[in-house]
């Protein structure tokens, strides 16, 4: 007896086929089986979800999260992090290797996948470290990690500081067809910095991190990508100058992609001042200026930016309830991203639903080379259902994530993830976990 899930009456938005119409979607045995205007349920063997008034998209993939396991389970673990993802409308997450120990061997990759099998409710794609211990000196065994299931490589949390190590890594990865994700930051320019360098750092007396600390690294990375022809992805770009450099590089045919976070698209450094030094506004790269936000939005619309990723960085309450300089960097983002993007970008008309699906599903799947990102027949039955009208307040104490650290507390938003379906299995529906 086949296992069927039928999603009826939703507006299907699928960028891989440029579909945008009301259709029923049938998932059979975990795969997309059929899309049609009216599909009848087979009695007894079909679970039916009513998606009338909702938007049905290929499952969202967050290509940049910190699940903190192993080592920092007091901040987050694979179970809580993936439940947060499911609540946030993500069917898959790619987790960064800055764990304890670092994810720099096939053993750790295997351990993460094993734990995911036991505790995760969405797909988990480990990202391996580029260098041993993420120390930036010697290449980690990326081939072994790739074979064990790592989808990409990054020293995120830190940049690959040495240009020579970056060059070797990009060359070496050609044998394994995996993307290198760099965290672009010149550490000498950002040292000691707490927030964006500019008027607000002057007014608050907090040490500034100039845009150039990112742009110097972006420029270097692009040159090394050109030199090697390797596949480079730039994490969490935050400045006008960065997207200008990337736009030029793409025009020259350099193989580069990049992502941006919801918080960099929505907030500016003025939030630090207005919030009275709220450490939940402390994030790396820092919240920038209105000029940067405008440039990032422009770059989303014109295709310079390929993906939206949360850089979900959960921290314990105690690590934020301290003096600003002593607080950890990071924002817990999985459970606010989709609503913020709808409320601040889709509903105001900066991007449309199709673009949103491209940025949050299709492109992340293509960059990482993982299944999904599409509703074509035979693809995994991974689906995100959006309620475009639901209005609610962001309340971190309701988060599934252990990390309640968000600067969006109390924000009133319209639009929310309504259903998360992974391999034909409903893991979240009507804003409640089904697992």
């Amino acid at each position: 007896m086949a296992d069927h899930l039928l999603i009826k009456g939703g507006r299907v938005v699928d960028p891989s086929s440029k579909t945008d119409q009301v259709l029923d979607v049938l998932i059979t045995n975990g795969k997309i089986a059929r899309l049609a205007q009216s599909i009848e349920a087979e009695n007894g063997t079909t679970e039916v979800l009513d998606a009338t008034g909702k938007i049905v998209m290929p499952g969202f993939i967050d290509m940049h999260v910190h699940l903190r396991e192993p080592g920092f389970e007091y901040k987050e673990d694979i179970g809580t992090g993936t439940r947060a993802a499911a609540m946030g409308g993500f069917t898959a997450v790619a987790c960064m290797p800055n764990t304890q120990p670092a994810c720099d061997t096939d053993t750790v990759v295997g351990r993460i996948l094993e734990r995911a099998k036991q505790t995760a409710c969405v797909r988990v794609y480990p990202i391996g470290a580029v260098t041993k211990g993420r120390a930036g000196k010697e290449l980690a065994e990326m081939g072994e990690m790739r074979a064990a299931g790592a989808v990409a490589f990054s020293d995120d949390g830190s940049p690959v500081t040495s240009a020579e190590v970056l060059r070797c890594a990009l060359e070496y990865l050609k044998s394994f067809d995996a993307v290198l994700i760099d965290h672009p930051e010149d550490l000498s320019l950002s040292a000691g910095g707490q927030i964006n360098y500019g008027l607000i750092s002057t007014v608050t007396g907090l040490r500034g991190i100039p845009n150039e600390s990112e742009e110097v690294a972006v420029a270097r990375d692009l040159l090394i990508a050109k030199l090697t022809g390797g596949r480079l992805h730039l994490a969490h770009v935050s400045t006008k100058g960065s997207v200008e450099l990337i736009r030029q590089a793409k025009a020259k045919g350099i193989r580069v992609t990049c992502e941006v976070t919801p918080h960099h698209l929505i907030l500016t450094d003025e939030t630090v001042l207005e919030s009275g030094y709220d450490t939940n506004t402390k994030v790396n790269p820092p919240l920038r200026t209105q000029e940067d936000v405008a440039a990032l939005k422009q770059a989303l619309a014109d295709g310079t930016i390929d993906a939206i990723a949360t850089d979900h960085a959960p921290h314990h309450f105690d690590e934020k309830w301290v003096e600003f300089d002593y607080a950890e960097f990071g924002i817990s983002g999985l459970e606010t991203a989709v609503s913020l993007i709808i409320d601040r970008l889709v509903l105001p008309g900066i991007i449309d639903w199709m673009k949103m699906a491209e940025l949050m599903s299709l492109n992340p799947a293509r960059i990482l080379g993982v299944p999904g990102g599409t509703l074509e027949v035979g693809a995994p039955g991974d689906i995100t259902i959006i309620d475009p009208e639901l209005e609610y307040s962001i309340l971190p104490h309701n988060f599934e994530s252990k990390g309640k650290n968000t600067p969006f507390v109390g924000w009133r938003v319209t639009g929310a993830p309504y259903g998360t379906i992974v391999g034909g299995k409903v893991v979240m529906y009507d804003r409640r976990l089904a697992v």
């Binding site: 040292a191 000691g192 707490q194 360098y197 500019g198 008027l199 750092s201 002057t202 007014v203 608050t204 007396g205 907090l206 040490r207 500034g208 009275g276 030094y277 450490t279 105690d318 309830w321 301290v322 003096e323 600003f324 300089d325 002593y326």
Partner: protein
């Protein structure tokens, strides 16, 4: 209008009206300092806690004496002998002090914004005695008080602030306070020690002290904050002193009756020469005296002796 029960965190957030209230009260309280018995019973039974995470001579003694002269009981916390050495957080330390019945906390801290944080942690009022590179509001109030002593007005006065503006909480508080009261401010220092976009705060910025001092009524010399210079911001103290230190020659660009101020402690021979520091134009010790009166006024208003 009342400061009763409120925090005093910054002059950026303090209204001109509240500043003037403190200054006028300080004016009448200053007389107590010259009495044979320097004590009034106004704040009897109130406890003021000095929470100092950074070394201080002037500010700490000044708050302590201000409390004593008003008959409040000052208690002090010293970082070196405290449980902070055992890893206690600021929030826990402060909530314990509050639980012991302290009425007001005066805090000095090396991290910008710490007083704002403490104000979120505590229900009792917090007075900022200097937080990192952010603000030192009571210092600026005593500076304004001193300027008024000599110049009788603030509006239209030309004030030149010279030196390490980047690391200076004194400069920030004075810029916010003095511009609110109508002064024209110029700042000068090596460009590495001027914070970005400083002119958006309504001041003129120069990289040569002579240009800022030209025609000034007040020359405010900042301490070169040697403990915060982590990077290669200037080559040597000798070179700094030659180009940016205040000496007789640089002071000659100011008005003849210009006064010279410094928040202390001085690096003599670095940002200011001894002959200037000790000259009749120097009002540096008057600033210290004014400081006690201004802090008496602040404690009075916040702890609300009498309405």
């Amino acid at each position: 209008m009342s400061l009763r029960g409120k925090d005093l965190l910054s002059l950026r957030e303090m209204s001109q009206e509240d500043m003037e209230l403190v200054l006028s009260t300080a004016r009448s309280l200053k007389e107590i300092l010259s009495r044979p018995i320097k004590k009034v019973p106004t704040l009897r039974g109130k406890v003021v806690c000095n929470l100092f995470y950074e070394p201080s001579t002037r500010t700490k003694m000044s708050f302590e004496l201000a409390a004593r002269y008003m008959s409040a009981d000052p208690v002090s916390f010293a970082k070196e002998t405290s449980a902070m050495k055992k890893g206690e957080t600021l929030a826990d330390t402060a909530r314990n002090l509050e639980a012991m019945g302290v009425d007001l906390v005066v805090m000095r801290h090396n991290v910008s914004g710490s007083c704002h944080f403490l104000a979120k942690v505590l229900d009792i009022p917090v007075v900022n005695a200097g937080d990192g590179m952010n603000e030192h509001p009571t210092q600026a109030l005593l500076d304004i008080f001193t300027i008024l002593d000599y110049k009788s007005r603030i509006r239209g006065l030309k004030v030149a602030i010279i030196g390490d503006v980047l690391h200076s909480r004194v400069a920030r508080s004075n810029i916010f306070g003095l511009t609110k009261m109508g002064a024209e401010i110029s700042v000068a220092g090596p460009s590495t020690l001027l914070p970005p976009e400083i002119e958006k705060l309504g001041v003129k910025a120069y990289t040569r002290p002579e240009e800022a001092i030209e025609g000034a009524d007040v020359v405010y010399v900042l301490r070169l904050q040697l403990e915060r210079q982590s990077k290669s911001l200037f080559p040597s103290q000798r070179e700094y002193s030659n180009f940016f230190g205040i000496n007789r020659h640089k002071l000659s660009y100011a008005k003849e009756d210009a006064i010279v101020m410094h928040p202390g402690p001085m690096n003599r021979g670095v940002e200011i020469t001894t002959d200037i520091a000790d000259s009749p134009r120097s009002v540096i010790l008057d600033q210290v005296t004014s400081g006690v009166a201004v802090r008496m006024a602040i404690l009075y208003h916040i702890l609300g002796g009498r309405d």
